[in-house]
Amino acid sequence: MKTDLVGLAFLMFLATYPSRAIPLLSGQFERLSPRLLEYLRLVGPAVLAALAAKSTFVTDAQGPGAFHVGIEWLAVLACLLLVLWRRNLFVGLFAAVVLVAAARSAGLA
């Protein structure tokens, strides 16, 4: 089993635990400005959306990437619509995977 990412996992823990623990342990968190709190609240959806967009539309590269067009667009859209409709991520992921697998096995992607 590879263990070279254990250090990264530990650093990720150090980056995660304070945000979970500081308000619960100190009670001083409410002193932050509402504007900063609102910014922090918006960071979550923004980072996730950026991740989804970059993975779907831009090819990986050292430097500027290229615009990617593919079946992944439809798959991610299908997942989005299903999650909106059913509020169930698993259903959306399953549909996305089936769509891509079917398109590739049919030679369409």
């Binding site: 979970r20 500081i22 922090l40 980072v47 959306a49 992944e72 769509l99």
Partner: protein
């Protein structure tokens, strides 16, 4: 990672970051940003749990996720008091154990799949990120922040560098959300927190904390 980080979105994201060769400091920074929303969950639970020992609260904090928060805050509100056993049940029984069990199954089963892309498994990451985003959007500000992050991430990836695209989107997107007119949540803390064990009704915590349960679909 599932045991010591125990943060689904950050773990999913880390898989993509590592495979893209992103340096560790950038991954750690993005992890901190991605999990900054836990500050709000933690602050929202604080009044309910203020009479519990510090050690217990420190342990509870590690198990605080979108799902455990959503289940716990709904349970506390329904009871109109804190229920520590209910918290453990939500955090460990319905989240920690299933998440780690599924991780182990994934590790053991991965070697049986020679070419994940043939089965369409490579689309799981972007689809999961998109689906998780839906779970965190409960108003115009989140929608605008996410939309702006998409535009900034794509533009940065195409024009500047793919390795900083997510960071740029994640940092600039929320500024667009903040620029929307309308009042900010005045306070994340209730005026009159219910002490442990008493049946005092608990005031609503406002949109910042109350909306976060939408992430229930996220693990």
């Amino acid at each position: 990672m599932s045991v010591i980080v125990f943060a689904g979105a950050a773990q999913f994201a880390a898989v993509g970051f590592v495979s893209a060769g992103m340096p560790w400091p950038a991954i750690v920074l993005l992890t901190a940003l991605l999990n900054a929303r836990h500050l709000l969950y933690s602050a929202a639970l604080r009044p309910w749990l203020s009479e519990i020992s510090t050690v217990k609260r420190a342990l509870m904090a590690h198990l605080l996720t979108d799902e455990s928060f959503a289940l716990t805050i709904a349970h506390f509100r329904r009871l109109a008091r804190a229920d520590v056993r209910g918290y453990w049940l939500a955090a460990i029984g319905s989240t920690f154990i299933p998440w780690n069990a599924a991780t182990i199954i994934g590790i053991l089963g991965a070697s049986a799949i020679p070419d994940p892309s043939r089965l369409g498994l490579d689309v799981v990451f972007p689809a999961a990120m998109a689906g998780l985003t839906i779970g965190l959007i409960s108003g115009r500000r989140e929608l605008v922040a996410a939309g702006a992050a998409v535009v900034v991430a794509i533009a940065t990836g195409l024009l500047v560098d793919t390795r900083i695209a997510v960071l740029a989107g994640g940092l600039i997107g929320p500024l667009a959300g903040l620029a929307l007119p309308g009042p900010l949540p005045a306070n994340i803390q209730p005026d009159n927190p219910a002490p442990m064990g008493r049946g005092t009704a608990h005031p609503d915590l406002g949109s910042s904390a109350g909306s976060s349960g939408a992430g229930e679909a996220s693990r």
